[in-house]
């Protein structure tokens, strides 16, 4: 067992699960989407991205790309949240909430790709 691989897999999976946790619930109901979960998802996603830095394989490149996509989507969701609540006084209307959650939904897809690639790579190693 390789500790590095465990940590790597852990963060990539955690990024997906946290993202999913935030995403699940009524799309326009702000009560179903905790801000802490979004925060945790962003932090864990950033860590997962950095962990993928410096890989020089093809699959490593796609892993990094998918992570960057997830980061972008989640940060966009957070910025939208911040602007809606503090910047423009609009507040978390159903429309804003729906936008935030759908952005995180996109990130979820990217994270799903990440995990799938990780599983494929692991399955390809017959050791």
């Amino acid at each position: 067992m390789n500790l590095e691989k465990v940590i790597f897999g852990f963060f990539i999976l955690l990024a997906l699960t946290l993202n999913f946790g935030f995403f699940i619930g009524d799309i326009d109901n702000p009560d179903h989407h905790a801000v802490y979960e979004l925060y945790a998802a962003i932090v864990v996603n950033l860590i997962a991205t950095v962990l993928k830095f410096g890989e020089r394989t093809q699959i490593g490149a796609i892993l990094l790309a998918s992570s960057l996509v997830a980061d972008l989507q989640l940060i966009a969701a957070a910025v939208l949240w911040g602007v809606a609540v503090y910047g423009t006084e609009v507040g978390l209307t159903p429309m804003v909430t729906a936008s935030i959650v759908s952005l995180s939904g996109g990130a979820l897809l990217a994270n799903l790709v990440s995990v799938t690639l990780l599983i494929i790579e692991t399955a390809k190693m017959h050791r």
Binding site: Y39, V43, L46, L51, F53, G54, G82, V85, Y86
Partner: protein, 573 residues
């Protein structure tokens, strides 16, 4: 560039992870700890403000406690946040600064920049391994001829010199071990524009390695090698190195030729010096006894060639037994008068100082001249930087190994037919040599002539092929005319004409030319440009061949044809 980015990312992975963790812990703490607003109501910091606070705290900017004054509990956590983020932030900064200064990193960056420059080269270039005196002479002459060069050398200082020298075009250089195949590939060994490898380091083994790697990685590429021992030369020849140059053999050979057939030697010298320099008429080496001081590689080669030509020699060496000197050799350095006396300097005809030390060589020469002012003196100049002293010593025969190698390689590059010409010319009578030297002097005046090859094919001169097909030009003499005035001759001399498997030495004006002929010329630089211009212009060729000046273009051609028809009709009448 990939490796550079990958290296940065890999090195920054740890510090970045630390920064992210520190930020996230600090932000989370600020959000979770309850505070009070300016009305005294319970209030909790939101993520936006927490991130803002941490962002200005970490680089020690510190705008104060926003948006409301902190409670003691919040301040306690802010303390933790400050130490945590400030320290990790600086750690990350220091890591990236250290990385930029890291030797390995900088080398990676230079290497990446170098291979990118080489990859983007779009002109034919030579890969020069070794940038010593020889390499420098080669690179300078190549760039002056509009060719490009890429330089590899194992010494940092030499590559730094490359930047300070005044070269016409930019020459990419890298401090690297040319023996490594990867280095050669980075330097453009497999690049489509690479036209040859010149291995001219002072280490035979390194040259050998470069040659074998090049021959395996790009078999079609011509490789020219410097070799100073016969074993290395034999080894290089065994796997098909195209040209092997041994400066000492070359020198010994020429010296013997200068003694036996001075005119041929003169032609030889003129054809292989640096073009544009002044033509030298050196005194003919004497046939009396030669004293050779130093029985190294040069001494050995000279001794053998002189021996073969029947010139008597006396060898002076510090350790005659160990160096395998011939019988009757004198023990000593040659710098002292008594050693030279013992060798018979009073009755000798010539002294050659052939040691590997420039100071010793000069000392030998000065001592010998004192003892016998009529001597013919030769000395080996090992370092080009000492050249002014050797020039001041006013020698009859200076020997510069680096110059010999550089001029040989250059003539091979410029005129691949030259070795064939020299081989054939050697077999000719002295009278023929005399005539050749006279003609060369006529075309090139007082400076060393340029030598170049013209191949009459579609790549070099499609216009000439057309002119040959239409019968506008037939003979070599047609090309050797001034394109401005066909009655004036061009200052160029055809040395050799090669046609599939036949070669014609010194073809005359009436020689018939055919497509795919290769012709070796020597002459002035101006003549070279004129010839190159005229073989590429059908109108000039028509003028040279027929004397007819005709306007070109569809309309003018039609008009010209009509006027010829009319003229013919008038003529008939």
């Amino acid at each position: 560039m990939h490796t550079v980015i990958a290296l940065i990312l890999r090195r920054m992975r740890g510090p970045l992870l630390l920064v992210i963790s520190a930020y996230s812990i600090a932000i989370l703490g600020l959000v979770l700890i309850p505070g009070v607003d300016d009305q005294g109501e319970p209030w909790r910091m939101d993520f936006l403000h927490a991130f803002y606070f941490v962002t200005y705290t970490a680089p020690t900017i510190g705008f104060g406690e926003v948006p409301y004054e902190f409670t003691p509990a919040q301040r306690l956590w802010a303390l933790v946040a400050i130490y945590l983020t400030v320290i990790t932030w600086f750690y990350a900064l220091v890591t990236i600064i250290a990385l930029v200064q890291d030797r390995q990193f900088r080398e990676t960056v230079t290497q990446a920049r170098f291979s990118r420059t080489v990859r983007h080269l779009r002109d034919p270039f030579y890969l020069v391994c070794g940038y010593g005196d020889t390499g420098h002479l080669l690179v300078r002459s190549l760039t002056e001829r509009g060719l490009r060069a890429v330089v590899l050398d194992i010494q940092e200082e030499r590559i730094n010199l490359l930047g300070t020298r005044d070269l016409i075009s930019h020459v990419p250089g890298l401090r690297a071990d040319a023996r490594q195949p990867e280095t050669l590939i980075n330097a453009g060994l497999q690049h489509a524009c690479c036209v040859g490898v010149l291995a001219v380091t002072d280490d035979d083994q390194a040259n050998l390695q470069v040659a074998i790697n090049s021959k395996l990685l790009n078999p079609a590429l011509p490789v020219t090698c410097r070799a100073e021992t016969e074993e290395a030369a034999g080894n290089m020849a065994s796997f098909g190195t195209d040209h092997i140059i041994n400066p000492f053999e070359a020198f010994g050979d020429r010296l013997a030729m200068a003694i036996r057939s001075p005119r041929m030697h003169q032609a030889y010298e003129w054809l292989s010096s640096m073009p544009g320099t002044a033509l030298m008429e050196r005194p003919r080496p004497p046939q009396g006894t030669w004293i050779i001081c130093g029985y190294g590689r040069l001494g050995r080669a000279v001794h053998r060639f002189l021996d073969d030509s029947g010139v008597p020699t006396v060898v002076v060496d510090e350790t005659p037994e160990e160096n395998g000197c011939p019988d009757g050799s004198i023990r000593g350095k040659g710098t002292e008068a008594h050693t030279l006396d013992q060798a018979g300097v009073k009755s000798a005809a010539a002294v050659l100082a052939a040691t590997a030390d420039d100071a010793d060589n000069l000392s030998i020469i000065m001592t010998a001249r004192d003892l016998n002012p009529d001597l013919y003196l030769g000395a080996r100049n090992n370092q080009l930087s000492n050249k002014p002293v050797f020039r001041a010593a006013n020698l009859e025969l200076p020997v510069e190994p680096s110059y010999i190698i550089a001029t040989r390689i250059l003539s091979l590059i410029n005129a691949p037919l030259l070795p064939d010409f020299l081989r054939l010319a050697r077999k000719q009578e002295p009278g023929w040599h005399e005539q050749l030297v006279g003609e060369m002097r006529r075309v090139s005046g007082e400076s060393v002539p340029e030598i170049w090859t013209v191949r009459l094919d579609a790549v070099c001169c499609p216009a000439l092929l057309l002119a040959l097909r239409e019968g506008l030009v037939k003979r070599l003499g047609h090309l050797l005319r001034d394109p401005g005035d066909r009655d004036a001759p061009l200052a160029a001399l055809p040395l050799l004409l090669a046609r599939s498997d036949e070669v014609y030495l010194h073809p005359g004006e009436e020689a018939v030319i055919e497509p795919d002929d290769q012709i070796l010329f020597c002459g002035t630089e101006r003549a070279r440009h004129q010839l190159e211009a005229s073989v590429n212009n059908i109108n000039t060729l028509r003028y040279l061949g027929t004397g007819e000046l005709r306007p070109d273009g569809w309309l003018w051609r039609r008009l010209a044809r009509q006027s010829t028809v009319r003229m013919q009709e008038e003529y008939k009448r």
